[in-house]
């Protein structure tokens, strides 16, 4: 298990988190290369269906990120995302996976450091949880 490299799907909203991830780049902050980010306009666009689909395909973790509460480019899209992710967590559990494999993080456009730190932390967490049982089955 020593060389286990998690495969993680990330969803990031265009206005805050994707911009924060860009800022991490501009600031040359280094984090593990395990995430593959899908840009959406708002974290509220992310559906539990997408999250489950990623897990069903063998993703070891899913990372959803949006603007801070009160700071959403679309007023309350992130509030909706919070509910959707909470719902998805229950469904992930029913799939037989640890709900900790799904993570929601608020990252603003100025928080490059936070983005890098939270991705680093999430990759560590997934490493400690081990490979997804679904992926192992494959």
């Amino acid at each position: 298990m020593a060389d286990f490299e998690p495969r993680i799907v990330a969803f990031a909203c265009n206005w805050c988190s994707y911009a924060g991830a860009d800022l991490a780049g501009v600031s040359r902050l280094q984090y593990p290369p395990n995430i593959r980010t899908i840009r959406v306009m708002c974290s509220g666009r992310v559906t539990p269906g997408w999250i489950l689909r990623a897990f069903e395909h063998g993703a070891d973790g899913v990372y959803v990120s949006g603007c801070h509460i009160g700071d959403c480019h679309y007023a309350f899209g992130n509030k909706m995302a919070e509910k959707q992710v909470a719902l998805a967590k229950k469904l992930v559990e029913q799939l037989g996976l640890e709900p900790d494999r799904l993570h929601l993080e608020w990252v603003s456009a100025s928080e490059g450091q936070k983005f890098a730190d939270s991705v680093t932390g999430f990759v560590e967490r997934i490493k400690s949880l081990g490979e997804s049982p679904i992926r192992r089955k494959d």
Partner: protein
């Protein structure tokens, strides 16, 4: 008032009569000139853009990062350069100079000298084959001499136009400017026959209505300051030289190294005010150096963590802009910059091969020295070479500081000494980027007024259509971004991999995918390979999607059939230590983008009509100016003021800096202009509600319902109540600077013994709460202390730094010292103590210069308190859903390039509603907003983003979930033919897609982010690889 009728019958009143000029001449192709050119064309003007050097881009193209966000400078500039270059209404005359201007405002006749490049602009493709055999190597000016170029050259890779130029100073075929052929290496190698020494310079004559001068600045050569050893010690560099060194595309590919031995320096000294604030050279302040040096420390530490020490020598820390004070502290707290308030007396080689910086230690007031390995000099920003010649050619004057003179900086901060010739950006003195681009827009508003109706409104072509079912033919373009990507990711390998992906018809890699020449190549590849979808793997879509989309549209691919993979900001830059993993990630990201691209669908251009009217909220000087300039463009303009009188803070002021004009006279003149321009004023009125969207706002104000095309927030600010601070409220003779304006107004002469003590930063630059600088207070106290002394009083100013950063600010500071104002510097952490009995009698403070406590007798204490956001700002922000900063002021769209706009289209900012500003800056911003409003409303319609939600009616069960969720009231329940379902008002829809993710039946489709597209990305990521 029967405003409806009036609106149709009497448009603008006070426009200068249009003349014979059919366009506007913009001189200078830096960020200021480019911004002006783009704004002018958006408002329908034909633009002639004259640039002296072979390429546009100016100083900003040379910078590595822009502060305080540390964004890559060329990355945010390059899209503007490309846009300007391909704009059909901008005629770029590069490598050209204006040599004459005749005529009158509205009808100017300009002569432009097109210098001979000896390379045909039409034929050259910028391949660079000619430069390789050229036997002459000279220092490259763009690299500030740190890198080399040949005698036939382009200044930098993203040059626009990408056309080579023969440098006749150095080419062997020219001796003292006379041609005599001795070498034909470049001519014989050019595969296109583009080089010819028979080409001649020519004069182009153009008729224009107005002239914008944006010729920028040069960095002073610090060689005359022999004590600093520039030129003697190779590791003493200027700020611009160091900027190039920090740049990943620069001569050291971003590595901080000593030029003497190629080693990484352990310790770097930064020295401010080299040749500026210095009567021997330039008495003015260069305004941007204090913070750009902080940026250079932060960036240098990022690039080379081995650099241990940053010793930063300065006189006054002029961190005056929004976020600057915090940035300066970040330098100390995060990067460990050692700020030393002292000017080095000399910089010399010392015995051990290092560099000794000698200075007076401010802690002990004794001589000291530090050994460092490198020194960076922040040299004065001086008028660009040729300013005097240009002044003669244009028939305008330069000021004592060498920059173009502004006739009346308070009435009109942009007009030179000749009407219709406007000065913007650093051509009228050092400025940072946001102030420069705000001025650029402002100059446009003035220029457009002379142009009248001589406009070229181009018809918008419909976007290319496709048969959505035709087989995908995807083109994939992988960027090297110089070494930014290719230094980590195997860009060639990724391109090779992309060729194997399903649906990909063509894939290749490019050095700079965003450069103008690559746009032309992509255009050709799209045509040649009959591509119907495009994927670019490069930097971030947040900055570069628009230019690639435009290239797609021009080549016949619908711009929504385009996707980007971010393999730089979110790959090569963040996985620099693991190149193989980064390359794998880049491949995954490209595979995902290609998979999504297969499912992209063409979207049509959507437009909405706009109402040619504007509402300015706030009747201070900014609102008044904005209303005047907006109305002058023929736009029906309303000005709403909540109090009974217009003028805002101006009503409280006596005389104004820098021209010593009386505030009431200025206000009177502006109110006269306002009247003439036909602005409809509503005082004692507040906006009750705002609905609608760009071009179509529905505003309830003063009991009326108005339809408004654009909204301008000019709500200003209010003076912080200093209750409890520095004896305010306790002693009646402790007053604010605003109160003191009244005293000045009413006092003919002060009693000679009257001792007035001014205290700066009362409530600003705090460790918590108001952390920023209020920007204008230093100037106010300098002006007031100077005036008080002239009226017979004695004055002292207790400050932390004197931030007299404006063009005339340093002279004001100097005059105050000359006139006997006593300046006392206190350390940041030592408070001012006022003592007395009923009235304040003495002020005690620690004097940082004398290093001792000081007690001053006082008759009057004047507190410089900061400006805070207006109490109306927050409720308006909520009503309009626009963001505010932590400081309570409105947030601009982009900290560098979008200082006038908010995030919501059709809503603009000016004056102190954004952050505290002085009057000239507020006026410039107000005029700039007027130009933006003019551009927005000039065509009668605006384009809407078509990436909205739509409803598949047959699946809709009318549950109402979306109606409940949507913050913008875009979904509406409708009943037609006995069926109830939801329709989306696309003008209201912002495209967030939240409704689509909540629709239980899947009836709602988020057009550009469909379930299918996102699922395809997830699926392909985990698909078995062969």
């Amino acid at each position: 008032m029967a405003d409806k009728e009036e609106r149709q019958d009497s448009p603008a009143v006070d426009c200068p009569a249009a003349g014979t000029g059919k366009g506007i001449l913009v001189i200078g192709g830096g960020v200021t000139g480019i911004q002006a050119a783009l704004d002018l064309t958006r408002a329908g003007a034909q633009v002639y853009l004259v640039e002296k050097t072979p390429s546009v881009g100016g100083r900003m193209a040379q910078l590595d990062k822009t502060l305080p966000t540390n964004d890559c400078s060329i990355c945010i500039l390059s899209p503007l350069l490309v846009e300007a270059l391909r704009n059909p209404n901008i005629r770029l005359l590069s490598y050209s100079e204006v040599v004459g201007l005749e005529g009158t405002p509205g009808s100017y006749h300009a002569k432009v000298l097109r210098k001979a490049r000896y390379v045909s602009e039409e034929t050259c493709v910028g391949c660079g084959i000619c430069a390789k055999p050229c036997p002459v190597t000279v220092p490259n000016e763009f690299e500030m001499g740190l890198g080399d170029r040949k005698a036939i050259y382009v200044p930098f890779q993203q040059a626009a136009p990408l056309v080579y130029t023969v440098d006749t100073e150095n080419c062997l075929n020219f001796k003292n400017g006379t041609f005599e052929q001795v070498c034909d290496k470049c001519v014989s190698k050019c595969p296109r026959g583009a080089i010819s020494f028979d080409l001649k310079e020519e004069i182009v004559e153009i008729d224009v209505a107005a002239v914008l001068v944006a010729t920028g600045f040069d960095e002073m050569n610090p060689r005359p300051l022999r004590n600093l050893s520039y030129g003697d010690i190779p590791d003493v560099l200027t700020g611009m030289e160091f900027e190039r060194m920090l740049n990943a595309s620069g001569p050291t590919t971003g590595h901080v190294v000593k030029r003497s031995d190629g080693e990484i320096p352990e310790s770097i000294a930064f020295v401010q005010c080299v040749g500026s604030r210095d009567e021997r050279y330039n008495s003015f302040c260069s305004r941007v150096c204090c913070v750009y040096s902080v940026k250079q420390c932060i960036v240098a530490k990022d690039h080379e963590p081995k650099v241990k020490d940053f010793h930063y020598f300065y006189r006054d820390m002029r961190a005056y802009g929004r976020g600057f004070e915090e940035f300066y502290l970040r330098g100390k707290n995060e990067t460990g910059v050692n700020y030393i308030r002292s000017s080095p007396s000399s910089i010399q080689k010392n015995g051990n091969g290092r560099i000794a910086v000698h200075y007076e230690d401010p802690e002990t007031a004794r001589p000291a020295s530090i050994d460092v390995d490198m020194v960076i000099l922040s040299c004065a920003m001086i008028p660009s070479a040729g300013t005097e010649d240009l002044a003669k050619a244009l028939g305008i004057e330069v000021g004592a500081d060498g920059y173009f003179k502004i006739e009346d900086p308070l009435r009109d901060p942009l007009t030179s000494t000749r009407e219709g010739v406007l000065i913007c950006g650093c051509a009228s003195g050092p400025k940072d980027i946001p102030d420069s681009v705000a001025q650029a827009s402002a100059a446009c508003a003035k220029a457009l007024a002379y142009l009248g109706d001589n406009k070229v409104i181009a018809e918008e072509e419909p976007l290319p259509e496709h048969d959505p079912d035709e087989e995908p033919r995807i083109g994939v373009f992988i960027c090297h971004c110089g070494l930014n990507i290719a230094g980590v990711v195997d860009s060639k390998g990724v391109a090779k991999y992309a060729k194997t992906l399903p649906g990909v018809a063509y894939a290749t890699d490019n050095l700079y995918t965003c450069s103008d020449d690559t746009q032309k190549k992509i255009y050709n590849w799209i045509k040649k390979h009959n591509l119907n979808r495009v994927v670019v793997a490069a930097c971030t879509p947040r900055t570069h999607e628009p230019i690639f989309r435009q290239t797609c549209a021009e080549a016949g691919v619908n711009p929504y059939m385009f996707d980007m993979a971010n393999i730089r900001d979110q790959c090569s830059w963040v996985h620099a230590d693991v190149p193989e993993d980064a390359t794998e990630k880049a491949k995954d990201l490209v595979r995902m983008a290609v998979s999504r691209a297969q499912l992209l669908r063409p979207l049509p251009r959507k437009t909405v009509e706009v109402d040619k009217s504007a509402l300015v909220i706030g009747g201070g000087i900014s609102g008044i100016q904005c209303a005047i300039d907006t109305a002058r463009q023929g736009i029906k303009t309303y000005l709403v003021e909540k109090t009974a009188a217009l003028g805002g803070q101006l009503n409280n002021l006596d005389r104004l800096f820098p021209s010593n004009q009386s505030a009431s006279e200025l206000l009177e003149a502006k109110l006269e202009d306002l009247k003439k321009a036909g602005v409809e004023v509503m005082t004692s009125t507040e906006v009750e509600s705002v609905d609608g969207f760009v071009g179509n706002f529905e505003v309830k104000v003063g009991g009326r319902d108005l339809k408004i095309g654009a909204l301008i927030l000019a709500t200003g600010g209010q003076i912080l109540d200093p209750e409890g601070k520095v004896g305010y409220g306790k002693f009646k003779n402790v007053i604010t600077s605003n109160d003191f304006e009244k005293v000045l107004k009413e006092t003919e002469t002060f009693d000679g013994d009257k001792q007035i003590v001014f205290v700066q930063c009362v409530g600003s630059r705090q460790t918590e709460g108001y952390t920023g600088c209020s920007r204008y207070c230093c100037h106010v106290s300098l002006k007031q202390a100077g005036a008080a002394v002239k009226k017979g009083a004695k004055a002292a100013i207790i400050h932390r730094d004197v931030r007299a950063f404006t063009r005339d600010g340093e002279a004001l500071y100097r005059d105050a010292r000359r006139d006997g104002v006593h300046f006392i510097r206190r350390p940041d952490d030592r408070e001012v103590d006022v003592k007395g009995n009923g009235t304040a009698e003495s002020v005690s403070v620690f004097d940082q210069t004398l290093l001792s406590d000081l007690k001053l007798d006082c008759d009057l204490v004047v507190l410089a308190v900061p400006l805070v956001a207006s109490p109306t700002a927050a409720p308006l922000a909520e009503m309009l859903r626009i963001p505010m900063g932590l400081d309570g002021f409105y947030l601009e769209k982009h900290v560098k390039l979008g200082p006038l706009e908010t995030n919501t289209e059709g809503i603009f900012l000016c004056g102190c509603s954004q952050y505290p500003k002085d009057i000239p800056d507020s006026l410039a911003q107000a005029s700039g907003v007027a130009a933006k409003v003019g551009a927005l409303l000039s065509k009668g319609f605006v384009n809407l983003d078509p990436t909205t939600a739509s409803v598949r009616t047959e699946l809709c069960r009318a549950c109402g979930t979306c109606v409940e969720i949507c913050e913008y009231n875009a979904p509406n329940m409708v009943e037609k033919d006995g069926k109830t379902y939801v329709e989306i008002n696309e003008a209201l829809c912002k495209g967030c897609g939240t409704c689509a993710s909540h629709c239980p039946t899947g009836a709602i489709v988020a057009r550009h982010f469909t379930d299918g597209q996102v699922e395809a990305m997830i699926d392909i990521l985990f698909a078995e690889q062969t």
